[in-house]
Symmetry: none
Subunit: 402 residues, 2 copies
C-alpha cells in the first residue's frame, strides 16, 4: 500500500474540482425473501438512479473476499489506506469514538470497570454494568492520577467502559490485556513485549495501583481492567498523500475520529443529514475533499429492520440534489461494508459503488443497486483503490511515466 | 498469503455449519464449434442450474491470468494456499500420487529407470518403457538399500517411473536432477546447493552407487536417474488456519495426497461417485469441511472427448440432491482448472464457481456455465480467496477489526 501512496504522492495535481465521498454506512444488503431485492434495490432512489445511469458503478471489497470489516478497517480502506497494513487497536478506536484528540505518541487503552471480591479476585467483569452517572464520576477521580513523565487522561465512554490515554515519548503498544476474561481470578499484570512496551507496562502498573486505592470504596466499580493497549498507528495525512485539503462531516464521533486519524479537518456536522448538507455548502470553498458520513443505513441493518433501512436509503437519496447542486468534480456514493438486515451484522459481501463525474465512462447500469453494480464499469476492486479512482475522476492525478 | 492465513487464524469461528467443496477436476471448457456452448453449458444440469439461480456465481483464476496450473497448484489454490508461495516439487507430487504418507522431514525424488551402455552413457532415458511387472520387482530390490542415518523407501509408480524417499533429519531439497535430458552422456552427479542439500546429495550418491550394483544385470533397466528432488513443503494444516475438521473424499491417490498435504483426513471414498456420496453422508457429523473430488471431467477433457465430458458433468449433476439433502451451510462447486476438450490439456481459462448458501447475495445468473459466470456476483477472483468465501458463506469467520 505504501506503493499506492508513493504513486499518489508523485502524481497529485491541484485543480478546483471538489470530491465528495458520501459513505452510507453498511449500505450493501441482501434480499430477505428469495427473489426479492436488497434494501438499496427496494428503496425508491430516483436521484441516485439518475446518477447511476450517467455515471459508473462497481463493487468494492473492503479487505479481501470473505472478510467482514469493522468500521475502522472499512473506513481506512475507503480513504485509501490498506486496512491490513494500518491496523487500529481497540483502545485507539475507543478513544477516536469519544472524539478524544489522540497525539501521535499516545498510548490508548480501553478500560472496563470491574468488581473485586475481598480476596482481590474478579467477581464481575463489568461491575454490574454500573450506571453511566456513577462511572463518569469515577472517571473524573481517575483523571486526577499523576504519573511522572507522562500525561494521563481518563475519559468515560458508557456504563462500565472508559478510555485511558498516556501521553509520553517512546511508549510501546505491545502490552497484554489485564482482563483475564473470566471471574474468580485476579486481574493479570501488564507486561511489555519489548523495551518501549515495558515502559508502558510500568506506567500501567503505577496507574492501576493508584486506581485501586482511589476506587476501593466504590463498589461495584472498585477496580478496572485494561484491554486493547495500543499506540496510535502512524498514518500519513491525506493532504500529503493525495494533495487535498480534506474535511469530514460526520455526526457520530467514531467516524470523526477515523477522519482525524487520516488528517482530515473535522467540521461541525450538527445532528441531521440536513445540517450536514448545510455544512457541506458552507465550507465548499475551503476544502478539496469532503467525507460525508451517514450512519443510519448501518444501524437499521444491525437492527434487522428492513423497511427502516429502505427508508433511510430514501432519506439519503432525497439529499442528493443538495450535493449535485454544488457541482462536485467527482461524487462517490458507497458504504464501508455491507450490513444486511437479514444478518443483523456487518457482512463480507462486496459494497455498491457509484461514481458520478464528467469523466465517467458510462456502463449499461440504469439504477443503483447490488445486482446492477455487478455489471458496472468499475468491476469489483479492493476498496483501497477507491481514492485513486475518486482523484482520477476529479482529474487530480497526473499521468504516470512518460 | 501468510497474511490471509493470519486473518483466518484470528477470525475463525466455530459453528455447526458444514462446507462442501466439490471439485470437478478440469471443469472449465471451451466450445468446439464457433457459437457452440462449452461442455458445462452443453450438459443438461437442472440441479446445478437451480443452485445457480438461488446462489452466486463467479470465475476463479487458479494462479494468475494466463497460467494453466497442474493438479498441485490448482488444488492448493482451492484450499486457500497461494500456489506461488507453496510450490510442490515433482518428487513430492509423485509420492503423493501413490498415496505414500510423507513425513515432514522427508526428501522425495522422482526416479526414472534408464539404460546405460557399456561406457556408462545413457542409451535410453526411459529404459525402453520397461514393463510395470518388471520395474515393480526392481523397485522391491532397490527398497532393500540401506544408508546409515536415513530410512530409504523405494516405490514403483508405473512403467519406468518410481519414487524414492529419504527419511532423516535436516535434509535439504536443493539438489540438481541427475537426468541430463539427453542420451550419449553419463548421468549427472547430484550436487547440493547448500549445507543440508549437500547432505541429501551425498545420500543420493550412496543410493545411486548401490543401485548401479543391484541393477547391473537388469537390462534395459540397468540404472536410474533422479528428478525433482525436494522436501515436503511446510504447509500449515487446515484445522489450524481455518479451524475446521477437514475430510477428503477422493478416488484418485494424487488428490488424497494433496488433501493429506494440507492436513485433511483422507476418508475411504470407494471407487464411484455413489460410494463417495455414501461416505459423505456417513461422516457428515464428523467433519466441518469436505473436499469431494470428481476426476472424470478432467480425464475426458484430456482425451478430447466432448460428448463424454458432457455426460460426466451430467453424472455429477445427478448427484447434487444427495449433497443438498444434507443441508450444507455452504456448497461450493468448481474445478481446479479448465481442461477444454478442444485443447486436450489443462488450460489457463478461468474456472466456473458456484456458491450455494443462505448467505448468498443473488445475481442475475439462472444457469451454471462459463458465460453465466462472467456476470456472476463473485466476479473474477484468485482461487486462493475461495476458502475465505466458503468460510464466510458458512458464517465461520468473525468480523475483522472493530
Amino acid at each position: 500500500m505504501s506503493d499506492l501512496h508513493d504513486l499518489t504522492r508523485k502524481l497529485q495535481r491541484q485543480n478546483d474540482q471538489k470530491i465528495v465521498l458520501l459513505v452510507a454506512d453498511g449500505l450493501g444488503g441482501l434480499p430477505i425473501e428469495p427473489g426479492g431485492g436488497t434494501e438499496l434495490e427496494t428503496a425508491s432512489t430516483p436521484n441516485m438512479d439518475a446518477l447511476a445511469a450517467a455515471g459508473t458503478l462497481g463493487l468494492s471489497t473492503p479487505v479481501i473476499p470473505g472478510i467482514a470489516p469493522g468500521s475502522g478497517p472499512g473506513h481506512l480502506g475507503l480513504f485509501g489506506y490498506d486496512p491490513l497494513e494500518y491496523q487500529i487497536g481497540r483502545g485507539v478506536l475507543e478513544a477516536l469514538g469519544i472524539d478524544f484528540e489522540l497525539g501521535s505518541s499516545d498510548v490508548a487503552i480501553r478500560g472496563n470497570f470491574c468488581t473485586l471480591d475481598d480476596n482481590g479476585n474478579i467477581e464481575d467483569r463489568r461491575a454490574g454494568r454500573v450506571a453511566s452517572e456513577i462511572a463518569s464520576k469515577l472517571c473524573e477521580k481517575l483523571d486526577t492520577i499523576e504519573i511522572p513523565g507522562v500525561e494521563v487522561f481518563v475519559r468515560h465512554v458508557k456504563e462500565y467502559r472508559l478510555v485511558i490515554v498516556f501521553r509520553g515519548e517512546g511508549l510501546g503498544g505491545d502490552v497484554n490485556d489485564t482482563d483475564p476474561q473470566k471471574t474468580g481470578v485476579t486481574p493479570l499484570d501488564p507486561v511489555g513485549g519489548d523495551g518501549p512496551s515495558q515502559e508502558t507496562a510500568e506506567i500501567c502498573t503505577q496507574f492501576l495501583a493508584q486506581a485501586r486505592e482511589i476506587l476501593k470504596d466504590d463498589l461495584p466499580a472498585n477496580f478496572l481492567t485494561m484491554r486493547g493497549i495500543d499506540t496510535k498507528p502512524d498514518v500519513p495525512p491525506m493532504s500529503e498523500v493525495y494533495g487535498v485539503r480534506a474535511g469530514a462531516i460526520a455526526v457520530y464521533p467514531m467516524y470523526r475520529g477515523l477522519a482525524r486519524l487520516v488528517g482530515m479537518d473535522v467540521l461541525d456536522a450538527g445532528q441531521t443529514l440536513d445540517s450536514q448538507m448545510d455544512r457541506l455548502q458552507a465550507t465548499w470553498d475551503d476544502y478539496d475533499f469532503f467525507f460525508v458520513h451517514f450512519k443510519y443505513t448501518d444501524s437499521t441493518g444491525e437492527d434487522g429492520n428492513f423497511p427502516e433501512k429502505v427508508k433511510r436509503v430514501e432519506e439519503l437519496d432525497a439529499a442528493m440534489p443538495r450535493i449535485t447542486a454544488l457541482n462536485p468534480g467527482a461524487l462517490v456514493i458507497t458504504g464501508d461494508h455491507s450490513t444486511p438486515c437479514k444478518m443483523k451484522s456487518h457482512s463480507f459481501h462486496p459494497v455498491p459503488v457509484l461514481i458520478s463525474s464528467d469523466l465517467c465512462r458510462p456502463d449499461a447500469c440504469q439504477t443503483f443497486g447490488e445486482t446492477a453494480c455487478i455489471s458496472g464499469g468499475l468491476g469489483q476492486f479492493p476498496a483501497k483503490y477507491l481514492m485513486g479512482l475518486a482523484l482520477a475522476h476529479a482529474d487530480r492525478l497526473e499521468k504516470f511515466g512518460a
